[in-house]
Subunit: 227 residues, 2 copies
């Protein structure tokens, strides 16, 4: 039984792909990159994977130290899967793929699935491109009614960004919109100005100040349309 297929190359890239190169695996990491999830949530976020394949991938990744099983603290108490430190260190891979994939996004195809979390991942991936000088802070996104927050910290080289599902306790800014709009903005297809003017994206709280801050942040983070 599955003796673990390997490329059999003494090469850093091949070794990485031995672990995360199989079908679905990196998408599974993407799902967990915003926080722990139950088996059922993962199925929801990976339409078409099938329960057996998901279980297999999880088992393999757990064996390799990329994923870990955990139990959420009360009152939740659910069994979840989460990334280990090793798994979280795949972030640059996800970001690089996300940036590269942006140019293939165009518009949703017939039968394309769409999840709020994917828009959050896309938003995260367009950040931290500029060198220092970003705007550290916590930004909450409510995408199709689901909350995510991005913590932008001023690191040594470029910004350190973390995206997690759920509300932030102390957001500097709360932005509301739908997934397709956020993806359009992340891909550079829709300018933040137009998105705000048309009402496709709204800022909660003190409107004028918040809106100005968001625009400034967008402009810095996303930069000129489509790299």
């Amino acid at each position: 039984m599955g003796e673990k297929r390997s490329y059999g190359q003494y090469c850093t890239v091949a070794r990485a792909l031995d672990v995360v190169g199989e079908r679905w695996t990196l998408l599974l990491v993407r799902e967990l990159s915003t926080g722990p999830k139950r088996f059922k949530d993962l199925l929801e976020g990976l339409p078409g994977i099938g329960t057996n394949l998901l279980a297999n991938r999880l088992k393999t990744l757990e064996g390799e130290g990329v994923v870990r099983r955990a139990t959420l603290p009360p009152p939740a108490g659910s069994n979840v899967y989460e990334l280990t430190a090793l798994g979280r260190s795949l972030e640059p891979v996800i970001v690089a793929l996300s940036r590269w994939g942006t140019r293939f996004l165009s518009v949703p195809r017939e039968d394309d699935d769409l999840r709020a979390g994917w828009a959050a991942v896309a938003m995260r991936s367009v950040l931290g491109q500029g060198a220092a000088g970003g705007r550290p802070g916590t930004y909450e996104f409510r995408i199709d009614g689901e909350a995510f927050h991005l913590r932008v910290g001023a690191g040594e080289e470029g910004e350190r960004v973390e995206t997690r599902q759920g509300s932030a306790p102390d957001p500097d800014l709360v932005v509301v919109g739908d997934a397709e709009t956020f993806l359009a903005v992340a891909s550079g297809r829709l300018g933040p100005e137009e998105a705000l003017e048309s009402g496709a994206i709204r800022v909660e709280g003190e409107r004028d100040e918040g809106q100005e801050a968001l625009l400034a942040w967008y402009r810095h983070a996303i930069g000129p349309p489509a790299a």
Copy 2:
């Protein structure tokens, strides 16, 4: 007939993987990342792929604008495959995977294949981590008798690095060694000092000055052992 399998997700990561997520594809990009190659050379660098699969991948990637066919200028005149600009922009993906895969490298396994080019890719991927202040220049590596050169240019944010097969016309430094040693150094398993002292890696040209420069460069580029 192969209607082109897709994850069917309106997501930047999934779209990227729709194009380069299949088995062998990113390794094929790795092979081409150091320069154009003939069909035969690609087979050599992807042991086990099978001619039909390689032909399929190349055709698909050509259709997607990642790879292009070209004819080398005389006197070579061979038909080769090379990356387009779109293909070259996959560099950050390869680098991210290579860095992540470094920790799985350890020592060659029984039956592991090993190619000089893979060591060059690994060397390239450990560069440009430090912020500005790197040492721009051209470094030639002769790995197992094969020549590669890395051009490090001082860019805006971090260094811009390009790796190509073949000799450089004007190398600032020529370093000679075998693939396994270079991979050990790239992975942080072997310090550059030890590698030079043991003679596993040699510097050509004016020894003392060159050796000092190489060491300084290594230290800056690679930094403290194993990030």
